[in-house]
C-alpha cells in the first residue's frame, strides 16, 4: 500500500471516528475538520486539484464554521453527565455494521479489484469551467437557485419567532 495513501486514510478515518464518538461537541467539530482536510488531500492525490481546494474552501471555511456556531448556540441548558448515545443505539449500530459489511463485501467481490491503473488525467480549471458553461449549464443554474432558496429558508427558519399570537 502506498504510504501517503495509508497515512491520509488513517488520518481521515481517525478524524471521522472521533467526530462521531467524542463527548465534547466542539472537539467533534474540530475532528470533523481533520476528516475533511484528509479527504481534500485524498482528492489532490487523485489529481482532482480544483475539487480538493474547493472542498477545503467550502467544508473547512463554511460548513465547519456553521457547525461550530450551531454548537455554541444550542448548548448550556443540559447537564454534563447525560448519556451521549440515543435510546435506540443498539439497532442503529447494527444497521450501520450491516451496511458497512454489505459495502465491504460488494467492493471485495467486484471486478474493480482487477481494474487497471490508467494514466493520470490533468484536468485544468479552464476545462472544468468550459464544461460548466456548456454541458452543465442547467445544473449550474439549478444549484444557484437551490443555494439562494436554502439561504433564504435558513434565515427565515432561524429568525426569532414573534412573541404572542399573530
Amino acid at each position: 500500500m502506498d504510504p501517503v495513501f495509508a497515512f491520509l486514510a488513517l488520518l481521515t478515518t481517525a478524524g471521522a471516528v472521533a467526530a462521531v464518538s467524542l463527548r465534547n461537541l466542539v472537539h467533534c467539530a474540530l475532528c470533523l475538520v481533520v476528516a475533511f482536510a484528509g479527504l481534500a488531500a485524498l482528492y489532490l492525490q487523485l489529481n482532482a486539484q480544483f475539487i480538493g481546494f474547493a472542498q477545503i474552501l467550502v467544508y473547512v471555511g463554511a460548513v465547519a464554521i456553521l457547525i461550530v456556531f450551531a454548537i455554541l448556540l444550542t448548548r448550556g441548558s443540559e447537564p454534563g453527565n447525560q448519556p451521549i448515545l440515543s435510546s435506540s443505539w443498539q439497532a442503529g449500530l447494527g444497521v450501520a455494521v450491516l451496511v458497512l459489511g454489505a459495502l465491504g463485501v460488494a467492493v471485495a467481490s467486484s471486478f474493480v479489484r482487477y481494474y487497471p491503473v490508467s494514466p493520470a488525467p490533468q484536468p485544468t480549471v479552464r476545462e472544468l469551467g468550459e464544461q460548466l458553461m456548456t454541458n452543465y449549464v442547467l445544473p449550474l443554474e439549478v444549484i444557484g437557485l437551490l443555494l439562494t432558496a436554502a439561504m433564504i429558508g435558513a434565515v427565515i427558519i432561524a429568525m426569532h419567532e414573534k412573541q404572542g399570537p399573530r
Binding site: V26, H27, L30, V33, Q49, F50, F53, A54, I56, L57, V60, G61, A62, A64, I65, V68, F69, L72, T124, V125, R126
Partner: protein, 392 residues
C-alpha cells in the same frame, strides 16, 4: 548583467539544487523555497513592526521606540527575546490541546498562502493551475484557528472576540472573493503567474495594470477594504478592540504563543497585500517602461508591498474603530452590492469595443451605484448633536 541580476535568486537556487543527486532535487528545491519564504517574511515582519510603531508614534506626535540600537531599529530583536523567555501561561480551565494547537493552526495556513504568489519573474514557489482558489481556501482555515483560540481559552472576552472575528471574516470574505472574480473573468485564468503576465506592457506611459481600468480601480478599492477587514486591521479591528474586550481571542495567550498570533496577523496582511499586488497592481512589473529592464522584478514586488504596509499603518493611525453593526451594514449593504455591480461592469468592459464608450459606460454604472448606495446609507442615519452622558 541586468538579466543576471533579475534572475539572481532563480540561478542561485538552481546552483544549490545542482549539488544534490537527481532523485533528491525536487525535495531540495521545495525546501530551499520554503526556507527562503520563511526567512524573507520573518525579516519583513520584524521591519514592519518597527516601522508601524515608529510611524504610529510620528502620527500621534511622539517618538516611538528609540532606545535599542540606532534610532531604535533593533527593537524587534529585543521584543523577540522578551517573547521567547516569557512564561507560557495556560489558564487552568482551558482546553490544553486546542489551546496549544490554535496558534499553529493560524500561522501554518498563512505560510501556505505565501507559496502561490509570484514574487518576481520565474519566482513563484509553486505554480498551481488553481492558485487563487488555494489562496482563499487556506485563508478560510485561519477562521477556524481563531475560533479554536477563543473557545479553548475558556474566557468570555476571548469567546466574544473570536465570534466577532469569525463574523467579520466571513462577511468580508464574500466581497473579497467577488472583487477578485472580476480579474479572473478578464484574464480567464486562476493561475497567479498568468494574471501577472496579462498585465505586462504599457499604453504610452501608463502600465497595463488592472487598476488603471474603471472596474479594476473599483475592484481594487473594494478589495483593499475587504482585505483590511479580513486581516483584522484598524479601522476594522473590533475582534481585538482593547477598549471593549481587552484583546479579543488571544487574551489568554502569553509568551511565544502570543508572538505567533501577532506574527500570523502580520503574515496575513502581507499575504493579502501580495494577492492585491498580483491581481490589480501588475505583480512584479515596473510602473514605468524604462524601469522595467534596469531594476530587478522582485524589487518592484517588494516596493509595492512596502507601499501597502505604509498604507495600512497610515489607516491605523488615522481612522477610528467602527462599531460591530456599522461594520456588518457596510459589508452587506454597500461593499457586496458594489462588488456585484463591478462584475457587471467588468463583463461589459470585456464585450464592448475598446474606446471611450466602454470607459463611459463602466464609469456611469460604478459611480451611479456608489452615489446611490452611499446616499441611501447616509439618508437613513439620524444625525443629532452628540451628548456626553458620562463625562460631565
Amino acid at each position: 548583467m541586468q538579466e543576471i541580476l533579475d534572475q539572481l535568486f532563480v540561478l542561485l537556487k538552481a546552483w544549490l539544487v545542482g549539488f544534490f543527486p537527481l532523485p533528491w532535487q525536487p525535495l531540495v528545491s521545495i525546501l530551499i523555497s520554503v526556507a527562503a519564504l520563511i526567512l524573507v517574511f520573518a525579516l519583513l515582519f520584524a521591519v514592519a513592526t518597527i516601522l508601524e510603531r515608529k510611524g504610529l508614534g510620528r502620527i500621534q506626535n511622539r517618538y516611538g521606540p528609540n532606545r535599542v540600537g540606532p534610532c531604535g531599529f533593533f527593537q524587534p530583536i529585543a521584543d523577540g527575546l522578551k517573547m521567547l523567555i516569557k512564561e507560557d501561561i495556560v489558564p487552568s480551565g482551558a482546553d490544553r490541546v486546542v489551546h496549544f494547537l490554535a496558534p499553529i493552526a493560524l500561522v501554518a495556513p498563512v505560510l501556505l498562502a505565501f507559496s502561490v504568489l509570484p514574487y518576481g519573474r520565474n519566482m513563484a514557489p509553486i505554480d498551481l493551475d488553481a492558485g487563487i482558489v488555494v489562496f482563499f481556501a487556506v485563508g478560510a482555515g485561519t477562521e477556524l484557528a481563531v475560533f479554536m483560540a477563543g473557545w479553548s481559552s475558556r474566557n468570555k472576552y476571548s469567546l466574544l472576540g473570536a465570534m466577532r472575528a469569525i463574523a467579520q471574516m466571513i462577511s468580508y470574505e464574500v466581497p473579497l472573493i467577488l472583487s477578485s472574480v472580476t480579474v479572473i473573468m478578464i484574464v480567464g485564468s486562476l493561475r497567479p503567474i498568468q494574471i501577472v503576465e496579462a498585465q505586462a506592457g504599457y499604453q504610452g506611459w501608463l502600465p497595463a495594470w488592472h487598476v488603471f481600468t474603471p472596474w479594476g480601480l473599483a475592484g481594487f478599492l473594494l478589495f483593499a477594504i475587504a482585505a483590511t477587514a479580513e486581516s483584522n486591521r484598524s479601522p476594522f479591528d473590533m475582534p481585538e478592540g482593547e477598549s471593549e474586550i481587552v484583546a479579543g481571542y488571544f487574551v489568554e495567550y502569553s509568551g511565544f504563543k502570543f508572538a505567533l498570533f501577532f506574527m500570523g496577523e502580520y503574515f496575513g496582511m502581507f499575504a493579502i497585500s501580495g494577492l492585491a499586488i498580483t491581481l490589480f497592481l501588475g505583480g512584479w512589473h515596473a510602473p514605468l517602461p524604462f524601469l522595467e529592464k534596469s531594476i530587478p522584478s522582485y524589487v518592484w514586488f517588494f516596493v509595492k508591498l512596502f507601499g501597502f504596509i505604509a498604507m495600512f499603518i497610515w489607516l491605523r493611525g488615522t481612522l477610528p474603530r467602527l462599531r460591530v453593526d456599522q461594520l456588518m451594514n457596510f459589508a452587506w449593504k454597500f461593499v457586496l452590492p458594489m462588488t456585484l455591480l463591478n462584475i457587471l461592469a467588468a463583463g461589459l468592459w470585456r464585450f464592448l469595443p475598446a474606446g471611450a464608450t466602454r470607459w463611459l459606460v463602466c464609469l456611469v454604472i460604478l459611480l451611479g451605484a456608489f452615489l446611490a448606495l452611499g446616499r441611501s446609507m447616509v439618508a437613513r442615519r439620524k444625525w443629532s448633536p452628540r451628548k456626553y452622558r458620562f463625562a460631565e
